[in-house]
């Protein structure tokens, strides 16, 4: 590794009691932030979309997350960049989700699409988002991060600042909740099918 890159890497990782010893230069900061965007944008976007934000809200939320990351770049441990971004995204996403019109926690109010329509991936995602929107934020976040974004429970615990046991408990409850809601949707579809 050339001496300049070595110095930059040591500045980026040289932490003393959680605080950086030297501030990164603007060029290094920009390079690091660009790297974070390239590496984690898709993860952030998928997480925010499944939390219940639409495309434009997810874009806005990611911008807000990046601005927070930019302000705190010197304090972010390079090993836990994704955890920091997801934790910030969770807070921003919950705030934006709370602004949206409330949906009931029970069955789907809108007409359930016909099974044939679900072949279309887009409609499948819409139904998934409707189901997730009716779950609680805490369960939804753990479920999405583990079973859709595919993080490990340890990574979720670090990202959401939870104990590993709490993550496991929420994941169990979230899966059971998801299965119940899907079963209700299926039952509704079957009734419609029989009624034809």
């Amino acid at each position: 590794m050339p001496p300049s890159e070595l110095a930059a890497a040591s500045r980026a990782t040289c932490l003393h009691r959680g605080k950086p010893l030297a501030r990164l230069s603007d060029t290094d900061q920009k390079r690091r932030l660009r790297g974070m965007v390239v590496q984690h944008h898709a993860t952030l976007w998928g997480f925010l979309r499944r939390l219940g934000l639409d495309d434009s809200d997810a874009d806005d939320a990611i911008q807000e997350v990046l601005l927070v990351a930019m302000r705190k770049l010197d304090d972010i441990d390079p090993r836990f960049e994704r955890g920091f971004l997801l934790r910030t995204a969770y807070r921003v996403g919950c705030r934006l989700r709370a602004r949206r019109p409330q949906v009931g926690t029970d069955g789907l109010a809108d007409p359930v699409p016909h099974p044939d329509v679900l072949v279309d991936q887009k409609r499948a995602r819409e139904l998934l988002d409707e189901i997730l929107a009716r779950m609680s934020e805490q369960l939804c976040a753990v479920f999405v991060l583990h079973d859709i974004v595919r993080l490990t429970m340890a990574e979720i615990a670090e990202a959401l600042d939870l104990k590993p046991g709490t993550v496991a408990s929420r994941l169990r409850r979230a899966r059971a909740d998801f299965d119940q809601r899907v079963a209700r949707v299926e039952a509704s579809m079957n009734r419609r099918e029989v009624g034809r």
Binding site: V37, G46, R50, P115, L128, V182, V185
Partner: protein, 180 residues
């Protein structure tokens, strides 16, 4: 017991929904927009940098200039010549020239009273050196005393002056001006 890491929903529909969620990708250009945000934010931060550098030397320089002005004014006020007494209202006496008045007052201010009998009358003149700043108005209505004059609540009329501009009671006038 921790949950199964490779979870799959019980129903086909659930599996289908989860698969749709996992396959979802950001729309075209979303990542580019985020990168543009990074670029534009850093560009905005870099732009005002020259102003900040300019302020680094401009602020201390301004502080030094203000300090010099304040010190100069303080020095000037401490070495300021005593101001001459107001011109008497009498029109019979010709008004003294400014230089003569200033010279006379300066001498009076720096010399002690010539005698004990003259100290009472000279005290009013000596007080000129320690006169309060402009705008000050002694109380004339009630209560306050004017130090050294002994008159309570009244301002003393200006002393009569001779043709040379010295006070009429000034014992050193004859020696100085040769007119008495």
């Amino acid at each position: 017991m921790s949950p199964d890491p490779s979870f799959e929903p019980k129903s086909e529909l659930g599996r289908q929904l989860l698969k749709a969620g996992r396959d979802d990708e950001p729309p075209e250009g979303a990542t580019d927009r985020a990168l543009e945000l990074v670029e534009s934010t850093f560009a905005a931060e870099e732009a005002p940098a020259p102003k900040r550098r300019w302020a680094l030397w401009a602020l201390p320089a301004a502080a030094v200039v203000v300090g010099v002005v304040v010190v100069a004014q303080l020095r000037e006020s401490s070495t300021e010549q005593p101001v001459a007494e107001p011109v008497p209202t009498s029109t019979a006496d010709p008004a003294p020239t400014a230089t003569a008045t200033a010279a006379a007052t300066a001498k009076v201010a720096t010399r002690p009273p010539a005698s004990a009998s003259a100290s009472a009358s000279a005290s009013a003149t000596v007080k000129v050196a320690t006169r309060p700043p402009k705008g000050y108005r002694p109380k004339t209505s009630s209560g306050g005393k004017t130090a050294g004059t002994g008159s309570a609540g009244k301002t003393k009329p200006p002393p009569a002056k001779g043709a040379c501009g010295c006070a009429a009671e000034d014992l050193m006038c004859q020696m100085r001006c040769g007119q008495k």
